[in-house]
C-alpha cells in the first residue's frame, strides 16, 4: 500500500522554499536565538517560521 500523501505542486513548492531558507532569529536586544531539537514556546509563538526552523533542527539532529 502506498502511504505517500498526495500534495499539490503548489503546496510542495511553498514548503520547499520554506525549508530551503535559513532563518536566523534574534532577541529584542539583537542576540541570536539558538534553535535546537527541543524547540521552545518562543519559537512556536513566532508562527510558521519558528515551527519550520524547529523541525529543521530536529531533522538535522536525527541525521
Amino acid at each position: 500500500m502506498n502511504n505517500k500523501k498526495l500534495v499539490h505542486k503548489k503546496s510542495k513548492e511553498i514548503l520547499k522554499n520554506l525549508y530551503d531558507k535559513n532563518e536566523v532569529f534574534n532577541t529584542e536586544d539583537g542576540k541570536i536565538i539558538n534553535v535546537n531539537k527541543d524547540g521552545s514556546l518562543g519559537l512556536l509563538a513566532l508562527g510558521y517560521r519558528g515551527l519550520i526552523a524547529w523541525r529543521k533542527a530536529k531533522k538535522s539532529n536525527v541525521k
Binding site: 500523501k5 498526495l6 500534495v7 499539490h8 505542486k9 503548489k10 503546496s11 510542495k12 511553498i14 514548503l15 527541543d38 524547540g39 521552545s40 514556546l41 518562543g42 512556536l44 509563538a45 513566532l46 508562527g47 510558521y48 517560521r49 515551527l51
Partner: protein
C-alpha cells in the same frame, strides 16, 4: 488614503479579570500595548453562552435565530446521525462573505464553525484543521482548506501533541515530572491545547506574511479549553482542591495567557502599525470566588463557568487611544467591521457599529439586508447548504415510509437529544431577544415531554411571566415541584445510602460502578434540593408580580436561612425592599450581593436607587456610576444617575446622563420630563427643550420590547424627581382618563364619553345602585395601580376611570388625556358621607370635616403632578358648570379630546335630578 486593513483575533473565553492582573504584573506586554494604544471594554455575551452560536453571532452581527447555528452539534442532513455544527448550516452571510462580495482580499483561520471551508476571496482554513487524533498525526479532513491546492501546505503546519517536548510543557507545569501520566491525563490535554493553538497560529502567520490581505480573521479556542480544565487550580486555591493537585497545576492558566500574549506579539509585528487590530472573546470565565463548585448535570453544563462579559479591544488608525468604551455586545463586531470598511450595515443585523471607539465618527450607512445583495460572496454552493433540522424531519419520514433503514436506538437517541437541545437553545435565544411569544410553544413542548426538567419548567415560567399569565406560571411551577418532590430523598434514605456496605468479592470495575451509583444518588439529591430552592425563588417572584410583596419577602427570608451566599437571592430581596420603600434594608441586601460579587452592576443600580431615596446623593451618584461602568446598556441606571446628579446640583452632568438614558430608551417618560425641566428651568435652552418635547408628538410608546421590559420592571414605585412649571402638550395615542375625587361626577363624565363614542374600559364588576343609578364605570385593576400597571398597555385610546389619589401612580411611559372633575369639596365630603350612611358604614350625625383638608391636598397634588409631566394633558371640568350648562361643557370636552362628536348628544346624558347634594 491607505486602504483599511483589519486583523480580527478571537480568543474564546478570555477574561479581563485575569488579563488586567497579568498586564499589571508585566506578563502580557503585547496585550498591554494594544490596550494602551486603543480602546478596551467589556463585550456582553448572549444567552445561551455556547461558543459556536456566539462566534457565529460575532461573524454575522445576528442572533442565532437568524444565523441558524443552534448548538455544538447538529443532525447530519443526509442520514440519521449527529455531527459537529458546520458552516453549511449557517443561513446568512458572514463578514468574510460580505467582504468577498465587495472585492476585499479576505482570509479566515479556525473560526468556529467554518467547516467545510467556504470559497472566499482568499484562504479559509476551517475549524477542523488543527484537530488530530490523540495518538498520531492524522490527515487533514477533506474540505478543511480553501483553495484545496494549499491543503498540503497547511497540513504540514499542524503540530501534533506528541511532537512537543518538556521545553513547551514545563512553563505550564513546572513539576510535570511528578505526574503519573497513566492515571492523570491532564498533561496530555495541555500538550494538545498548545499544539492546536500553535497550529492555528502557524497557519495565520503564513497567510499574514505571504498573502495580500485586507481582512484576516483567526480564532483560538485554547484559553477556553485551558480554563475549563484548569481554572479550578488557579490561585486563589478553591476549597476542596487537593493540595498536591493545586501545586501541580496552579500555573497553567497564567502560562496559557502568557503564551497567547506571545502569539499576539508576533501577529502585531506582522500586521504593522497601520492595521486595525480587533481582539475579542465571546464570554468571560469565572476565575475567583465565583467559580462554581458544582457543574450542573445538564448538556453544556460547563457553560456555567462562563462570565457574562468577554473582552473587546481595538487599535488602529482613527481609533481612540487608551480609552474605555461601554455597552459593546458581540453582535456589534460585524457592524463595526462594516463601518471600518465604509460599508453599510444590514438593518436585519442585531448589532450596531461601536462608533464610540472612533476619534471622528462618521455617518452610519445602512441597507435593508446584505442577504438581498447579489454577487459572488464566496459561499458554498446552495446544494451544500441545508437546514439539518428540516433535513432530519424529511429523513424521519423516509424511514417511516420504508425508504431508509431504521437507525439504531443509539443513533436515534443522539439525534433526538440534539434536536431537543437545539430547540431549547432556540427558546433561550428568543427569550434573550425578548421574543417570549416565540419561545413559548417550544418550551411548552419540551416541558410537556419532561415536566421534571427544571430548566424547561423555569424558562417556561419566565415566558408566561413576561406575558403576564401569572396563573400559568403557578400552574407550571406546581407541576414541576410536585414531580420533583417525589424524587427527593428523605434523611433516612440518605443515611442508608451513606452507611451502605459495599458487597464483598467485587471486581475493581464493579467496585467503581458501585461507588459511582452511590455518589450519583447523593449528587442528584443535592441537585434536586438546589432546584427546589430555585423554584421557591421563582415562587417569590410570582408573588411580587401579583403585588404580594410581603409574602415574597417571607419566602426570601426562608431561603436565606439555607442559602446565605446567593447573589440572586439578595438581588431579589433588595428589589422587594425597594418596592416596599424600605430603603435601608434594600441597601443592606444589595451590599450583601457586592460582598459576594464586587462587580455586580444590578446591585450597584439597586444601591443607587436606595441612596437616592435616602437623599444621599453622593453615594447614589457613586453607585450609579459603578453600575453603568459595569453594565452600560441599562437606561434606568443612567436615569438614576441623572436624577442624583440633578438633585446634587450637577445640572450639566445630569443632562448628559439623561441624554444617554433617552438614547437607549426614548420612551422613558420620567427621564424626558426631567430633561425638559433642566433645559427650560436650569440651562435656559428652549430649543433643546422643544426637541426633547417633540418626541411626545410621535406617539411612540416603546421603541422596542427590551426597553419596555426594563422600564416596566422599575418605573413605578421609585422616587423619581419630577420637573416643574411646564406648559401643555400635543399627545398622540393617549389613554383617556376621567378623574376626580370620589363623588365628584366622574361616572357622569364616563357616561358622556361613552356617548361621544370613546371605547370605555370597564369590567362592570361594581353594579349600579342607589348611589350611582347609571353605573360606576369602574375597572377593578385600577385599584392595584400602585403595584400592577401592565394592563395600561392595552388601554391606549380607551377611556378609564381613575380616582384622583391614584393619578400620580401612573407610569410616565404612556401619554394621558385627563378630564378632571372639580366639585366643591364640601359637596364631595357630604356626598361621600351620604353614600356611606346609605351603605350603613357611617352615622348620619358624624360628618368627617377633616377630610376636607386631605381632599384639598389631593387636588393640589394632582394639579402639580399634571403640570410637571409632559406626557399628561388635563382639562378641569367644573361639576356645577356641567350640570348647569352641559352643552357648553360638552363642546369644551370635544375640543380637548380632539374628536368628532355631537355635543348635544353628549350633553343629553346630564340629568340634573341626580345632582342631589348641593351646598
Amino acid at each position: 488614503m491607505k486602504k483599511r486593513k483589519v486583523l480580527l483575533i478571537g480568543w474564546d473565553g478570555a477574561d479581563w479579570k485575569i488579563i488586567n492582573k497579568l498586564m499589571e504584573e508585566g506578563i502580557m506586554p503585547s496585550m498591554n500595548y494594544l490596550v494602551n494604544n486603543g480602546v478596551m471594554g467589556n463585550l456582553a455575551t448572549l444567552d445561551p453562552p455556547f461558543s459556536p452560536m456566539l462566534w457565529t453571532s460575532i461573524s454575522t452581527g445576528m442572533r442565532p435565530d437568524k444565523h441558524g447555528i443552534l448548538g455544538f452539534s447538529e443532525p447530519i442532513p443526509e442520514t440519521i446521525g449527529v455531527r459537529p455544527v458546520s458552516s453549511t448550516s449557517r443561513k446568512v452571510k458572514a463578514i468574510w462573505n460580505i467582504l468577498t462580495q465587495k472585492g476585499y482580499k479576505t482570509h479566515s483561520v479556525g473560526w468556529w464553525p467554518s467547516h467545510p471551508a467556504e470559497p472566499i476571496n482568499g484562504i479559509m482554513v476551517s475549524n477542523h484543521f488543527q484537530k488530530m487524533n490523540d495518538n498520531k498525526p492524522t490527515p487533514l479532513l477533506v474540505g478543511a482548506v480553501h483553495p484545496p491546492e494549499l491543503t498540503g501546505l497547511f497540513a504540514h503546519l499542524r503540530i501534533h501533541p506528541s511532537e512537543l517536548t518538556q521545553e513547551h510543557l514545563l512553563p505550564f507545569v513546572p513539576k510535570a515530572a511528578k505526574i503519573d501520566q497513566d492515571k492523570d491525563k491532564r498533561l496530555f490535554h495541555i500538550a494538545k491545547n498548545i499544539a492546536e493553538s500553535s497550529s492555528i497560529h502557524a497557519a495565520t502567520t503564513w497567510i499574514a506574511e505571504n498573502q495580500e490581505w485586507d481582512f484576516l480573521a483567526m480564532y483560538l479556542d485554547t484559553i477556553d479549553h485551558f480554563s475549563h480544565g484548569f481554572m479550578n487550580f488557579h490561585p486563589p486555591k478553591m476549597q476542596g482542591t487537593p493540595d498536591e493537585m493545586f501545586e501541580l497545576y496552579k500555573d497553567v492558566i497564567t502560562a496559557a495567557y502568557r503564551y497567547h500574549d506571545m502569539m499576539l506579539g508576533r501577529l502585531l509585528q506582522l500586521a504593522g502599525k497601520d492595521t486595525t487590530i480587533i481582539l475579542v472573546s465571546d464570554h468571560g470565565f469565572h476565575s475567583d470566588h465565583l467559580r462554581p463548585k458544582v457543574i450542573p448535570d445538564e448538556p453544556a453544563g460547563p457553560a456555567y463557568q462562563h462570565r457574562d462579559y468577554g473582552i473587546f479591544c481595538m487599535k488602529g488608525p482613527g481609533i481612540k487611544k487608551d480609552d474605555k468604551i461601554f455597552g459593546a455586545t458581540l453582535l456589534d463586531i460585524t457592524p463595526t467591521l462594516l463601518y471600518l470598511y465604509d460599508l453599510p450595515i444590514g438593518e436585519d443585523m442585531d448589532g450596531v457599529p461601536l462608533v464610540q471607539s472612533f476619534e471622528n465618527p462618521k455617518e452610519i450607512k445602512t441597507i435593508p439586508s446584505w442577504e438581498d445583495i447579489e454577487g459572488e460572496a464566496g459561499m458554498l454552493p446552495t446544494e451544500f447548504q441545508e437546514d439539518p433540522y428540516d433535513a432530519q424531519e424529511s429523513l424521519k419520514q423516509l424511514v417511516e415510509l420504508g425508504y431508509i433503514e431504521e437507525p439504531s436506538d443509539d443513533m436515534k437517541e443522539n439525534v433526538e437529544r440534539t434536536i431537543k437541545e437545539a430547540d431549547y437553545n432556540l427558546s433561550r435565544v428568543y427569550i434573550g431577544a425578548y421574543l417570549h411569544q416565540k419561545a413559548l410553544p417550544i418550551l411548552e413542548k419540551l416541558f410537556n415531554n419532561e415536566p421534571d426538567q427544571y430548566r424547561f419548567a423555569f424558562r417556561l415560567v419566565e415566558c408566561y411571566k413576561f406575558i403576564d399569565k401569572i396563573d400559568k406560571c403557578e400552574e407550571i411551577l406546581n407541576i414541576y415541584i410536585e414531580k420533583e418532590k417525589k424524587n427527593i430523598l428523605t434523611n433516612e434514605d440518605i443515611k442508608k445510602i451513606q452507611q451502605e456496605k459495599m458487597p464483598e468479592n467485587l471486581s475493581e470495575k464493579e467496585k467503581e460502578n458501585y461507588e459511582r451509583k452511590r455518589s450519583t444518588k447523593l449528587t442528584t439529591n443535592r441537585r434536586i434540593y438546589r432546584d427546589l430552592l430555585q423554584a421557591d425563588l421563582i415562587q417569590a417572584d410570582i408573588c411580587i408580580s401579583k403585588g404580594e410583596v410581603k409574602k415574597a419577602l417571607a419566602i426570601f427570608q426562608q431561603i436565606e436561612k439555607v442559602a446565605s451566599r446567593s447573589r440572586g437571592l439578595y438581588i431579589k430581596l433588595g428589589n422587594a425592599y425597594l418596592k416596599l420603600r424600605e430603603w435601608d434594608k434594600s441597601i443592606a441586601s444589595f451590599r450583601k450581593v457586592l460582598e459576594i460579587d464586587p462587580e455586580n452592576a444590578v446591585a450597584f443600580h439597586g444601591l443607587a436607587i436606595g441612596f437616592l431615596n435616602k437623599n444621599n446623593y453622593e453615594s447614589s451618584i457613586e453607585s450609579a456610576l459603578d453600575s453603568v461602568n459595569l453594565l452600560y446598556n441599562n437606561p434606568l441606571a443612567h436615569l438614576v444617575l441623572g436624577e442624583a446628579l440633578f438633585k446634587y446640583g450637577e445640572i450639566k452632568n445630569a443632562e448628559n446622563a439623561l441624554k444617554v438614558c433617552l438614547t437607549m430608551a426614548p420612551s422613558l417618560g420620567k427621564a424626558r420630563n426631567l430633561l425638559i425641566d433642566i433645559y427650560e428651568n436650569y440651562l435656559n435652552n428652549p430649543i433643546e427643550a422643544q426637541k426633547t418635547k417633540d418626541y411626545f408628538k410621535t406617539g411612540k410608546i416603546h421603541s422596542n420590547t427590551k426597553e419596555k421590559t426594563i422600564i416596566q420592571e422599575f418605573e413605578t414605585g421609585l422616587n423619581i424627581a419630577q420637573p416643574r412649571n411646564i406648559q401643555r402638550k400635543e399627545l398622540t395615542n393617549p389613554i383617556y382618563i376621567v378623574s376626580g375625587l370620589p363623588r365628584s361626577g366622574t361616572s357622569l363624565m364616563m357616561q358622556m364619553l361613552e356617548k361621544a363614542g370613546l371605547p370605555i374600559l370597564t369590567d362592570n364588576k361594581r353594579k349600579p345602585d342607589e348611589n350611582n343609578p347609571k353605573g360606576y364605570y369602574e375597572y377593578e385593576l385600577v385599584k392595584k395601580l400602585a403595584t400592577e400597571n401592565k394592563w395600561l398597555k392595552n388601554s391606549i385610546n380607551k377611556t378609564v376611570k381613575i380616582i384622583a389619589q391614584l393619578l400620580p401612580q401612573l407610569p410616565a411611559r404612556y401619554q394621558y388625556k385627563i378630564i378632571f372633575m372639580n366639585r366643591d369639596i364640601d359637596e364631595v365630603v357630604m356626598s361621600q358621607h351620604k353614600m356611606l350612611v346609605r351603605n350603613g358604614k357611617a352615622k348620619e350625625d358624624t360628618l368627617p370635616l377633616n377630610l376636607k383638608i386631605s381632599f384639598t391636598k389631593t387636588i393640589k397634588k394632582v394639579q402639580s403632578w399634571a403640570t410637571k409631566n409632559h406626557n399628561v394633558d388635563i382639562l378641569y371640568v367644573n361639576h356645577s358648570d356641567l350640570i348647569q350648562q352641559p352643552e357648553k361643557e360638552a363642546k369644551k370636552i370635544i375640543d380637548f379630546l380632539g374628536i368628532d362628536a355631537d355635543y348635544q348628544k353628549i350633553a343629553s346624558v346630564v340629568d340634573e335630578k341626580l345632582y342631589r347634594i348641593k351646598k
